[in-house]
Symmetry: C2
Subunit: 161 residues, 2 copies
């Protein structure tokens, strides 16, 4: 899925959108009383620019390019704070462990490429009528839902041709 030696995608997708995210995440950290360190800036920059969900170790490896002294513990602590502020979210992998990705904006769900790991959000799903019928049949008070789609992204489809 994710290739250790292929970090091009990270900065290839670094657009104004990602730069804005980067700045707003730094502000968000600062407004919550957290300090801005070199390490933290580096990790935030990587996460805000990534088109893939990243595991803690992947983020650790990417982070050490900027901050060679970086420790894995700091990665986990940074992820914890960004998640607490609602800036990133965990993505559950079929295998078991977590990856991390910028959080959804409002009511969005994930679309994941099973070949390269690319993650995109989509919106516009309206499950309300369906959920009402499930509620009626089951007696449950349905309060939340969790929807993820899996498939092949445009690039991976092209690559396969």
């Amino acid at each position: 899925m994710y290739n250790e030696n292929d970090f091009h995608y990270l900065y290839a997708t670094m657009n104004t959108n990602a730069t804005d995210l980067y700045q707003s995440w730094l502000s968000s950290l600062q407004n919550s009383g957290y300090r801005l360190t070199e390490t933290r800036r580096a990790l935030v920059e990587i996460l805000a620019a990534s088109s893939h969900a990243l595991s803690a170790v992947e983020l650790y490896d990417l982070g050490r390019r900027e901050c060679p002294r970086l420790g894995l513990v700091t990665v986990y602590r940074t992820l914890e704070k960004l998640e607490e502020l609602g800036l990133i979210q965990r993505v559950h992998q079929p295998g078991g462990c977590h990856m991390y990705l910028r959080a959804a904006q409002g009511h969005q769900h994930l679309l994941l490429c099973t070949a390269c790991g690319r993650a995109e959000y989509f919106d516009g799903d309206d499950l309300s009528t369906f959920m009402n019928s499930v509620a009626d049949q089951s007696g449950f008070d349905v309060r939340d839902h969790w929807l993820q789609l899996f498939g092949l992204c445009q690039q991976c489809r092209d690559h396969d041709l």
Copy 2:
């Protein structure tokens, strides 16, 4: 969510349906060349009768009531075989680790009670038109989806009144 001292639910929900499941799972194991041991019968009985997804440790604790010498490793090995035969499936918890539950029949999805952990399957979801529109907009070839609903089951709603 799940109370260590409250195993009533397990046998309270033991109905003919669960008894049938129990017998068919044993047959399934036998037909695949696996042997029927006392330990295995006990674990299968618990899983087939459970209305909740169980963690490995929960299953371990329940199993030791019947087989005090039971080891946690045996629990994992039994879960592995039952999953391999398609009789149970993993349920991903928001927290991270897995729980295990009888497998879905055909195209079904899960409905989980956030208060007591009760798990029920439902069917009848038709996301095809929605998934087509997502595919069009994203360029993804959407091949699979993962849907879980969360809410309060009838019992927990009554209990709250």
